[in-house]
């Protein structure tokens, strides 16, 4: 693998503008000509003031927001590259299953589904047998200090920090080659922050490419290979 060729994610000239039809068609440009390359084993931390568009970029990379222009090339496991910005819904769903892991700021709680199954689900979707996925999920949850008595419960009644750790276990468990982390340590104590730093370093060591937003300087300094600045665009006239 050549140094220039081992990128996992390559963003080219990405534009994102929101058009608010209910506000008289108000246009809010957030990203213009954004470019970013992330290599295997590299962790790039998005930096910039609040509201500059860091989360917007991350959501575009996850396919949660649609790009208005440009390309988001994602390296697949077979070595081919797919443009997420141009991919149809089913293609994006496939990339999410096999390539792109995303840890959002908040867990979306599903009624009546136990935490263990929420964590195991992305592994099952990638083809791991259900029992093996549950065992791996339980190990990951223990690592994040989620005791066994919580595994069988739906996380609706969990604290914010516990829900976030369920979210992290889910995001890290399936071993996706590209990980997107949106403030994963926001509601964690020092002990659990240290676990997340370990998980990120292990993911890098296995060759995952990581793009993250971390407001916590300690975590950022521990995991970032480099910072990528996102500057706010001037307001549209």
């Amino acid at each position: 693998m050549s140094a220039a060729g081992d990128w996992r994610l390559r963003v080219e000239a990405l534009d994102k503008t929101f058009t608010l039809h209910l506000q008289g068609g108000l246009r809010i440009p957030v990203l213009r000509g954004e470019a970013l390359t992330v290599r295997a084993g590299e962790c790039v931390v998005l930096a910039g003031p609040s509201g500059a568009g860091k989360s917007t970029l991350l959501r575009c990379l996850a396919g949660n927001y649609g790009a208005c222009g440009g390309r988001i090339l994602v390296r697949e496991e077979d070595g081919s590259a797919t443009d997420l910005a141009a991919a149809g819904a089913r293609e994006v769903a496939r990339l999410r299953r096999h390539v792109i892991g995303y840890v959002s700021q908040f867990l979306r709680v599903i009624p009546r589904v136990p935490a263990l199954d929420i964590v195991a689900e992305p592994m099952v979707a990638r083809g791991v047998a259900r029992d093996a996925a549950r065992e791996a999920a339980a190990r990951m949850m223990h690592r994040l200090n989620l005791p066994g008595r919580l595994h069988g419960l739906p996380p609706a009644t969990f604290s914010g920090g516990e829900q976030q750790r369920v979210n992290l276990a889910r995001g890290f468990g399936a071993g996706h080659p590209l990980l997107l982390l949106d403030e994963p340590t926001a509601s964690l104590d020092a002990g659990n922050r240290a676990v997340v730093i370990e998980l990120i370093q292990e993911a890098k060591a296995r060759g995952a490419a990581i793009v993250g937003i971390f407001h916590d300087a300690e975590v950022r300094d521990a995991v970032a290979d480099r910072l990528h600045d996102i500057s706010p665009l001037p307001d549209a006239a």
Binding site: H21, L22, N64, Y65, A89, I110
Partner: protein, 252 residues
Amino acid sequence: MSAPLLAAEGLTLRFGAIPALLGVSLEIHPGEVVAIVGESGSGKTTLLRVLSGQVAPQSGRVLYRGQDIAAMGEPALRRLMRSEWGYVHQNPRDGLRMSVSAGGNVGERLMASGARHYGNIRAAAAEWLARVEIEPARMDDLPRGFSGGMQQRLQIARTLVTHPALVFMDEPTGGLDVSVQARLLDLIRGLVADLGLAVLLVTHDIAAARLLAGRILVMRRGEVVEQGLTDRVLDDPQHPYTQLLVSSVLAA
């Protein structure tokens, strides 16, 4: 990528001057859950009826496993409806036989698709009642005495007992209390995932669509105004009507 299970091309249907469907095209693949959302009168239920062959479009066609359903003939279509397809009505009374026992309602559909052995049929019915969380002791009771939520769960058991490949669901939680809706949605979510069903789900409940569907189509006045991945359409809506629809939902 797999071939679509069901594909519709350019469906148009007018009731007098009122367009119920205007050039609607869609595809659903095996194991996919696709939600069709929009306000009352947007054409959602009409679309479901056309896709399931109950109403013929004025133009356009519906292909099931590549075959035009209009060319299949009535008996073949009825056979599909009894076996490979399922239809869950908003009102369970439209999908159940109210004068037949709960177990009978489930067993009847099995028999209609060819099962003959009484013991096997009764065992399958009992198993399906358990899967939809109806106590086996209620097996010989008439659905008339069931609550709305139980009737709806019974309709789902009756529909799924033949392991259909494609299920049409028309507002399955429509007439139910909110507490009952959550249980039913979760039940549907679990069954759909376990059985690998393809589901076309008509709903006006955005939260239900988010919970169940991988893809979503937004309809307005007979047209599909926007479609795509459920989370993207709901989090980054492009069409003015979708923006209105999403912004009108109360966050819980």
